[in-house]
Subunit: 415 residues, 2 copies
């Protein structure tokens, strides 16, 4: 695995992560995202439905929490999760937790962390964690980590302990990794902890960078953990301690404005749980990320025409009877105003849902709890989110990041 | 619409229903089934996923109960449910109720019947019923009917009233049908009621047959309504009163043994809610319907090889911790015994699920409540059910109905 940076503009790293997968033939553009799954499946979608989407990420994310209780079966199966779940040829990245769920806190010890499966809590030592990785057979995985330091007001002592434990887990993981035949070609991502304490973030980054890791996971930066300004400053400082040629994946950050600010702070990779969360609340991503063609380069690229349909999403009004987590980047298709709206979700969008269906029909599916509603929304939301990342990379390439930010953040004006 | 019977063997009518759809270019083989939908969508499946199935029925069933509350929107849309729901080119049949749900009884009056949408009860006069049909724009639809006479012990007087009301509704429907521009090319199916009283069944059939209907709906024969022997005798007697050249659709019958006995009694068409119900309880249809090739004709046809894997479904045992509605034709994929079963659901099945996935993975999806579990089961169950109907027609064609029955009913031995 190797990250080839082609340019760095205003802190944004544009590049290509190459040599991925068992045979090293896969690559992933950065800034970019992994393909979010639960139980190794993209929620709502079959592999074939999923592959109606263009520009799918070459890396699929699975998590230990949804697979741990199937450890014995996977071990007996012997051929790893990729084959067990019938996935197409893809690179597998395995993280500890599913970022779309929040886990109860207070179950970390010096030697163990806990994950929650459908049957309840599962306590993991490093030995058990590594045995599960050997059964999952990912191409890359994050090492075991104590990530319970994101709550506001966590003491300096607790944060220090989390950094120490996480480094100790990493050393143990690396030692076992060497001895595990099934993980011979896999790479470990070291986890940077440190809560909101700059000194601990720097120590965690420096110490992790000394170990033979393939990349870095930035943990404890998710939306609920801290203000955006604090996050950006901490990530900037942390990034400066990490080697340029190794990728950095931030966990728990998915909202478009937060993604942009993390990219400016030096982050390369994101998860894609965000479009899934939007889907589950019956919403469709509808923000505009298409910048007007530069008159000098017009004609060399043909961005998809996306219209905002002249409507403001009116989040505040919707939130009164909608989901409190709703962001300004989405429209609530359950809202009655869409019941006789015969337009596609987003004009000009080329996803399966927008090509075939109207807002009124999706509204109808959602209010009658038909399962196809989630299928169609998930297809659109993934397409929109992947399109956003592609447009972000193009904006960096063409030195038009400010135009891109103006466009994406436009819908927040007046907040 | 015209039913061309090619042969009648032991009461079974084999034929082709032709001249279906607006332009009359569609046809449907009988005995056969309609494509079950809710809100005009096959539950769990997109149109594209659905079309991975072979031999899909050319007729799609929608029901008034799931569409009535969207009457105003459909009316404003003006182009009917087929286009509203983004359906492929298909014939639409509209029934009153969704047979997969049971509706509360006790809400029928002389002039109205009630259906239940997601927002509660909707009372329909014939005028409103016909206005809804004008908005739905089906190719065929059942007339409004009083079907609340299936409970055991319904009085003779109540049954007589239901037959009278249903005939009166039919006459009103036919009168309004003539005046409705949107239904110009559509056909009405008259509804035969009569509960379990032979005399009323015969009267209902004779009177309905006198009206200018395109076909007949046999109502009140569903599994919970009466014993199989009673149903068969009543349907046989009723069929004898109906013209040979018009199709007969029975509502609420879906289990394979019941389907076979109805076909022997003269029924042509069925719904396909049964594979959906099987899916919703986490089960997969797994009964064998492939008859051994006749030595004299071997080589002329190549039936799919279906193996029962040497296991009895052990329904009674499973029912103790499973779904009480489970039939001997299915396996409960939630059962722990499948957690390390790396075979397809049914060996040799050519559906998407069986080609790509193992029982262990489907089990894993179901126990963790992943939505893909329902998608995969629905694909398999529809494929299996459509295969059953195809094999039934082939058995009638080749005079091997008894072999077919022995094969299908085999799994009930020992019950």
């Amino acid at each position: 695995m190797k990250l080839e940076l082609s340019r760095v503009v205003q802190g944004c790293r544009l590049g290509l992560l190459t040599g991925l997968g068992k045979s090293g033939q896969h690559s992933l553009e950065v800034p970019g995202c992994l393909l979010y799954t639960r139980c190794a499946t993209v929620p709502h979608l079959t592999q074939d439905t999923l592959h109606t989407l263009r520009d799918l990420p070459s890396v699929t994310q699975v998590s230990v929490d949804s697979l741990a209780e199937h450890h014995e079966v996977l071990k007996e199966f012997k051929e790893g999760v990729r084959k067990f779940a019938g996935l197409h040829d893809t690179v597998l990245f395995c993280s500890l937790h599913d970022s779309a769920n929040s886990s109860p806190a207070g179950h970390v010890t010096n030697k163990t962390v806990s994950v929650w499966g459908s049957g309840g809590r599962i306590e993991l030592t490093v030995a058990r964690f590594m045995a599960i990785q050997a059964a999952i057979q990912p191409d890359c995985y994050q090492s075991m980590a104590d990530g319970e330091t994101w709550q506001a007001g966590t003491s300096r002592k607790r944060v220090r302990k989390a950094v120490d434990r996480t480094l100790a887990h990493l050393d143990e993981c690396l030692a076992l990794h060497q001895k595990t035949q099934e993980l011979k070609q896999a790479e470990i991502f070291g986890v940077v902890e440190g809560g909101d304490i700059l000194e601990e973030r720097l120590r965690s980054a420096r110490e992790t960078a000394k170990r033979p890791v393939g990349g870095f996971v930035l943990d404890g930066f998710h939306s609920a953990a801290m203000d955006q300004d604090v996050r950006v400053q901490l990530i900037k400082a942390t990034s400066a301690e990490l080697p340029q040629e190794k990728p950095r994946l931030v966990l728990g950050v998915g909202c478009p404005d937060e993604v942009i600010s993390c990219v400016e702070a030096g982050v390369d990779l994101f998860e894609s749980f965000f479009p899934f969360q939007v889907t589950e609340r019956g919403c469709a991503l509808s923000f505009n990320y298409t910048i007007d063609p530069d008159p000098e380069t017009a004609g060399t690229s043909t961005p998809t025409v996306l219209e905002f349909n002249g409507e403001m999403p009116a989040v505040k009004k919707l939130n009164s009877n909608g989901d409190e987590n709703m962001t300004p980047y989405e429209m609530n298709l359950k809202d009655k105003r869409y019941q006789d709206d015969f337009r596609p979700l987003v004009e000009g969008c080329s996803c399966y849902c927008c090509k075939k269906h109207m807002r009124a029909y999706v509204h109808h599916l959602l209010v009658t709890n038909e399962l196809l509603g989630g299928v169609l929304l998930m297809l659109h939301n993934m397409a929109h989110y992947l399109g956003f990342f592609k447009a972000l990379r193009e904006a960096i390439t063409s030195d038009r990041l400010q135009d891109f930010k103006n466009r994406v953040l436009h819908c927040r004006e007046g907040d």
